[in-house]
C-alpha cells in the first residue's frame, strides 16, 4: 500500500480534531478533539516508521500514548471539577482568568 494514503488520512484526522477544538464549546468534546489530533500524529509517526523501516517512529508513538494517558487523567479531573462547581462544561463560560 502507498504510505502516502496513511499520511493523508492522518492530515484529515488532525484537521477534524483542530476544527473540533476551535468550534465546539463542550469541554468533553474539545478534549476528544485533542485526543484525535494526538492520534493523527501517532498515525503519521507509525506510517513513517513503516515506510523507512526504522523503529524511531514507533517509539515516538508509544511516548505520545503514555503522555496522552497521563493528560487524560489530569484533564478529565479538571473538567469534572469545573462541572461540579459550575453545573456546566462550557469552556466559554469558564473565562474568569483574564486581564
Amino acid at each position: 500500500m502507498n504510505p502516502n494514503n496513511y499520511l493523508v488520512l492522518a492530515a484529515i484526522l488532525f484537521t477534524i480534531g483542530a476544527l473540533g477544538v476551535l468550534v465546539r464549546r463542550n469541554a468533553i468534546i474539545v478534549f476528544m478533539s485533542v485526543e484525535m489530533m494526538l492520534n493523527a500524529a501517532n498515525l503519521a509517526f507509525v506510517a513513517a516508521a513503516r515506510s523507512t523501516g526504522t523503529l524511531d517512529g514507533q517509539v515516538a508513538a508509544f511516548f505520545v500514548m503514555v503522555v496522552a494517558a497521563a493528560e487524560v487523567v489530569v484533564g478529565l479531573a479538571i473538567i469534572v471539577t469545573i462541572f461540579r462547581t459550575r453545573r456546566s462544561a462550557s469552556i466559554d463560560e469558564a473565562s474568569l482568568l483574564k486581564y
Partner: protein, 619 residues
Amino acid sequence: MTAALIGLPLFGAATLLLGGRRTNAWGHFFAVAMSASSFFVGIFLFIQMLGRSGEERAVGQYLFDWISVGRFHVPFGLHIDQLSMVFVLLITGVGTLIHVYSIGYMEHDPNRRRFFAYLNLFVAAMLLLVLADNYLLLYVGWEGVGLASYLLISFYQHKPSAAAAGKKAFIVNRVGDVGLSIAVMLMFVTFGTVTFEGVAAGAPQAAPSHVTWIGLALLLAACGKSAQFPLQSWLLDAMEGPTPVSALIHAATMVTAGVYLITRAHAIFDLSSTARTAVVTIGAITLLLGAFIGTAKDDIKKGLAGSTMSQIGYMILAAGLGPAGYVFAIFHLLTHGLFKAGLFLGAGSVMHGMNDDVNMRHYGALRTAMKITYATFGLGYLAIIGVPPFSGFWSKDEIIHAAFGQNIYIGLATLLGAGVTAFYMTRMMAMTFFGEARWEKGIHPHESPATMTAPMLILALGSAFGGLLLVFVGDIEGWLEPIVGIGHSDHAVSNTILIPVTLLVVLVGAGYGWMTYGRRPVPVVAPENVSLLTRAARADAYGDALNEAVFMRPGQYLTRALVWFDSKAIDGTIGGLSAAIGGLSARGRKLQNGYARSYALTMLGGAVLIAFVLLLVRL
C-alpha cells in the same frame, strides 16, 4: 617663632568665638593683646633678621607634611624673608593700631566681641598668606582673608545692603580665586611642585606658553583680591562694613595681597613679557578708573575706596614693570598702607562725630570742630597726592619714573592719575574740613576719644615720615634686592625733569579742586544737572551695569533655558517613554481575554505560520 606670628591672633579669634558671651567683658582687650604680641614677635624676628647678612636672611620653618599623595607633596612650611618681613610688620603694626581704634569706634556695638574675633581671624589669615612657603598654603591664607573680609563687610547683617555687599565681595573674589587655583594646578603640571623655591627654579626650563598662562591666571587672582579692573566692583560696596574694616582690609592689607602675589611670583613674570604687559595694562586702566570714580563720590568712604583702587592700580602697574618696578610696588604698598589707613581712620572719626553720616555734602568747616582729625587727615592728604617730603611722594614718583622708562603712554597714564588724585583728594578735603558748615539739624561734631585719635596720630606720623625713613634709613631697595633683584631700566626721562613736572600736574589738580569746591559754596543736595562723565563716575563707571548685562543676565537666561530643557526635553522624553509603554501594555493586556478557544486559535495560527516559514526556507 614664625608660627607664633600666625598662632597668636588665631588663638585670639578662637578664644573669642568659642568663648561666647563669657569673653564679652575683656574680649576686645584680649584681641588687641594678641595682635600686639604678634607685632612684637614680628619686631623680634625683624631684629634677628637684621643681624644676618643679605643672602642668609630668608628662613624657612618646616612644620609638617600637609599633603603627600603620589608625586604630590605639599609641606606645611613657613618662609620668612625680606619681602614677607615688610608685610608682617605692616599687617601686625597697622592691624594693631586699628584694633586699638576699634575699641573706641565699636564701643556701643552689641557685637563688639564678634567684631574683634573676626579682626584677629583676618590678621592670622593674612599672615599665613604672606608667610606660606608654597602656593597651595598661600591659597589657604588667601581664602582665609576672603572669608574674614566677607564676615566683616556684612558685619551689620541686619542691613540688607551690607549683607548684599558681603555676598558680592565673596562672589567676585571667587572669580579671582578660580585664577589662583588654575595657576596652582598649572604649576604642579609644569613643575611638579608648588613651592616658591621649586617654581622659581623650574620656570626658566618650562615651556614659555605654560609660564605665560600661569602668569595670566595669577593676574586674574590678583585682580579679584586687589579689586582691579574688571573685578573692581566689589570694593566700593565693601564700604558697607564698619570703618576700621575699610581701613584695615579694604585699604591697607588684604587688597594688597594681589601685589604680594605678583611680586612673590616674579620668577614667572620675569620670563613672560605677555603676562607683564597684561599686568601693566590692568594696572593703568584701574588707576585711571579708580581715580575717575573717586572724583564724583559724595560718600567719603566710597571716595576713599575709589582712591584705593587707583593706588593699588599704581602698585600693580609697578609690579608689571618687572625688576625695575617690584621694589617700588612694595614701597608704594607700604606708604599707601600707612597713609590710606590714616585717611580711613580719619573718615571714621569724622563719621563718629557726625552721627554716622557719610555724605560729604553734610560736612564742611570741620577743621575747627575736630582739630586732631583735621591734622591727621591733612597729613594723609599731603602724603597721597605726593607732596614732598611726605611718604607718598617718594614711592609714587619712583613708579612714575619707572613707568616712563617702560613706555611713554604708561608714564602719561600714571602722571594723569597723579593729577586726578590731587583733584579728588582736594575736593574731599575742601568739602569736609573747609567751607561753611552744612551740618544737618541736631548734629554737634566733636572730636573722637583718645583710643581713636592715638592710632590716627601714629599713622599720620607714618604718612609724614614713612617715605623718608624707608628711603634714607631703611634702604628699601637694598633690603628687597636679594628677593626680587634690581633692574636698571633705561630711564627715558630723568628725575630732574620729572619731579617738577609731576609736582606741577599735582598742583594743577589740587588747584582746580580747590577752585571748584573750596572757593565756591558746595550745594547740600548733589546737583542733578551734571555732565555725562560725572553721571558715569557716580554710577561707578557702570561697572555693576556691565557685570549685570554681560554676566548676570546671560547667566540667568542660561539657567532658565537649562531648566526649561530639563523639564521639557529630558523629563518629557522619559515621561513620554513610560507613558507609551504603559498605554501599549494596557492595550496588549486585552488579548488575555480568558477564552480558551481564542488561545487555541492563536496557537494554531502560530504553528501554521511556523510550518509555512519552515517550508518556505526549505524550498
